[in-house]
Amino acid sequence: MLNHNQLKQGTRVEINDQPWIIVSAQFVKPGKGQAFTKIKIKNLVNGRVIDRTFKSGDMVPKADVLDRNMQYLYNDGELWHFMDPDSFEQVAINAAQVEEVKLWLKDQESYDVTLWKGQAISVSPPAFVVFEITDCDPGVRGDTVSGATKPATLESGAVVKVPLFVNQGEKIKVDTRTGSYVERAK
């Protein structure tokens, strides 16, 4: 169980028999009065965002969720399939649950799959993933310092801004948290 001041951004809690992740938490207290923690939480199953307020003394159960590192296998048009590389156990998640990471999916890459009561409910990508550029305008030689960028489409379908000297067919490292180019990769 968590008390109200352990309710921090990123903590996963169970409320109304559902798993939620805390998006933001704010401590408020009128002078000499009751302290409250206001949290904004996002449902880990359906993505719905709601507000809740707790007073000091309230206890909140932690969500019974665990993250497993799994390889992305394929998309059958309806479900996205992942596999635990150790146990070969497979799980599938639906379009709504994969929505936010869809553009960062790559075959054989490892992802954190969140399981709630044994059922896969969401997936998050590693902070950095290497992708091949499948489409972008031709490179400009020598321009490594100006900071100018151009859009590049990656094998996953994502479009990121890359420096002018980067070419189609090359591989680049992308920060999936910000969707930004980091460096050229081999």
Binding site: K29, G31, G33
Partner: protein
Amino acid sequence: MSCPSGHGQDWRPSASLKALQTRANTLATLRAFFQERGVMEVETPALASTAAAESHLEPISCPMGYLQTSPESAMKRLLAAGSGPIYQISHAFRSDEQGPSHNPEFTMLEWYRPGWSYHQLRQEVLDLVQRCMDCGPAETITYRAAFQRYAGVDPFSVTEEQLEAEARQLGLTMESSMDRDSWLDLLMVERVEPGLAELARAVFIVDFPTSRAAMAQIRPDHPPVAERFELYLDGLELANGYQELIDPKEQRHRLMEENRQRHLRGANPLPLDERFLAALDHGLPACAGVALGVDRLLMAEIETKEIAQVMAFPKERA
């Protein structure tokens, strides 16, 4: 990126050096203000054998005693000993209070004026704030009028059910049951404080419900009110003052009641401060007293909503 200690840049102060200079200047201004007015600076222990029993203040305990949530009891012992007007700038400690405008360790300015009314002291609070920054004139409204204006309820007659319904209309869903005072506190932070912030001026809220009297004297009006004031600047509570309770019997009763409230919500009761009560038995002069959050004053001065912007090392870097 390589960082063996895992602390990156957090050895640095969270406040700018400019803000720290403002802090130094403000501390000098506060001391000059009281020196000019013949108020004596005092120092009382931060570590003591007990802490004031208050339902919603949680002291930090350690093997040797308690860190003080405010220097109030010790300063009243000095007043009873005949100190005359006194002030103190000290650190106060409150467990679990951490947020954009709260840090568990903070700087408090507290002062007492024997023979003064809380109305006189209110004026002096404003004089002091105006010395530190240009905050303009202040508006004074009662706790009751503030709730009627911003929350649409009369805090002296509204029922628990009405408060709950009002909160639900605001989209505030509580996860547990709340008593009447807790609902009022919630409306205070959700409706009244934002309303005061929109006024964009200094506001004194005066005359609180008796259940929110703390150590203030009660005036037998209909309904009776606690002679207490709070100063808000841009919706942020800056200071809290009382016509001080001087009756030792009533004081003992209130400390025991606070302990009872603490027990009801699962907090440990605190040992009664018998030296403080003995001082009241001896005789505390009629006086008005106030505590002002120095960090909050600095936040107003440099116009920030983050307490970390005015402290060198807030809890997460301490």
